[in-house]
């Protein structure tokens, strides 16, 4: 996934903003959503696990996996920029 580094015709620099737009990332989220929403359980399902309805545990597990996946994406795909890049335009010009 290449990121653009030149200012766009709209006047804003779009570099580094496509870090999370790969198709597979959103496929993973879609799968987690399909698993996490309990649409596929029988209407009168009464099974329990660890004292909770089983479908509840399944939804919570999908949520936990989604949280881990998001944390991993943030860790690995959001580069920590140098302090220079974090400075406002006015301060960069002076330095």
């Amino acid at each position: 996934m290449s990121a653009e580094s030149t200012p766009s015709s709209t006047g804003i620099d779009l570099s580094g903003k496509r870090l999370f737009l790969s198709w597979w990332i959103w496929v993973v989220y879609s799968i987690l959503m399909v698993v996490g929403i309990p649409w596929y359980w029988p209407a009168q399902y009464e099974g329990t696990l660890f004292g909770l309805p089983t479908w509840t545990l399944c939804s919570l597990a999908a949520s936990f996996v989604a949280s881990c996946f998001t944390a991993w994406l943030l860790m690995t795909r959001w580069p920590v920029e140098s302090v220079e890049n974090d400075l406002p335009v006015s301060e960069k010009n002076h330095s």
């Binding site: 209407a43 309805p53 949280s67 998001t70």
Partner: protein, 500 residues
Amino acid sequence: MPFGWGGITFLVCYLIGLLFIGWLGGRAKKDNSLRDFYLGGKGVGMVVLLLTLYATQYSGNTMFGFSGKAYRVGFSWITSVHFMTAIIVGYLLFAPGLHRLSRKHQFITPNDFLNHRYHHRGINIVAPILMILALGNYLLAQLMAMGRALQGLTTMPPETAYIVGVVLLAGIMLVYETMGGFRAVAWTDVLQGVILMIGFSILIFLIWTQFGGIAETTQKLFNSSDADRVKVLPPDPLGSRRWLSYILIFGLGASLYPQAVQRIYAARSTKVLRNSLIAMVFLPLMTSWIAVMVGVTGAAHFQGLDGSQTDRILTIICREVQQSSTLGYWLVVILFSAILGALMSTADSCMLTISSMTTKDLYLRFINPKATESQLTFMGKWLSWLVVGILAGFAIYLNSLSSKPTLVKLLDLKFDMLVQLAPGFMLGMHWKRLHGTAVFWGLITGLCVTFGLYSNEWIQSTGFHHGLFGLLANLIVAISLSLMPLSNKEQICHDPKKAA
């Protein structure tokens, strides 16, 4: 559940502590600039950012609204765990770019990005008004929850206690915000966030010790009447569609909370923001899930509540615990401080953001472009008093009605509006061709569809939020107009380099 002198003294000390922190925030002021007042100057570090994000996003709605909704629908309200996670996923679509641009161009309000990106007068008028209305709705819900929180605390008649709760707590918030601006709000959020975390831990403890744990609750509901038994069964197809709708509208709408966008601006560095979001993504499992367990436990043990009464289930559980032992009494006192913290930390952030958008986006841009920063800061402070005064009056009026709105209903209304800004922020961050006119007409179309269909029965039968239908229309218009070839004149309007 009236508190004795010990409990009241603890709460008074806590509220005085908030005022003291506000005073410290005022002392730390560097200058009279808007950035210093609304974003705390050069920004905040990891601990403050995480706790201010946490205290701001988990509010009175989480404590009262989510537990009330879980009381009504049961375990299906795990939806709230999913949609609170979806908010952080939504950030992936725009937060990295927005943070970088905000540092470079010194953004203060969310509309500063839209103005920088589109330079469109229509957007500059509609977007801030839309965000102010949405936040006003949210602030109203917090003020109403403050009143309801105090109803159970004193021996005063409920109506009087409600009014005292709204006026007293809103007054304290206004004083510390006027003294210290963003610093006061963020620093008080640290205290409120810590107490909130302790409060949720106490709730888990209470559920296990006082009510026999979640297993007993589940069995009790399985053995109940059909109306309560449904609370432990998987949702029907309509419930599943509503679940999906909540994930989408929160992921796309709640991630655009104006006060949260300002916290993206306020992060001292990319690393601080990234690490805070990593921690935030796990918090729904420790907060929303606990609120669901409270609601479900209430449904099993305190049956028969109805409508907006269900938002009081947490108070009812607290009363039960408080009367059981001295330990229970003090746990409830701390829990009550956490509830106040959740309400006030969200409300003060809304208040500060409304004030910043009114002064910078509307007053400075359209009414008095020559105003100095110190004039604007002064005006922003007094605007907060005016806005909160009006909304507090409205909250008291709503409570006097025979049919009181539930907190989750107020929450839904806000997202139907906020989600219409998603194309401007999220699509605009990645797609160069999207231009201001397209975003503006998309926004107008989205709002017209959302509110035009508000009482449509077919839309309600689908289970999807009206705002999502509006967003679909919004996207179709914005993308279609952006794909159309532009005339030379329009190209110049949309290209700042050519315009220059």
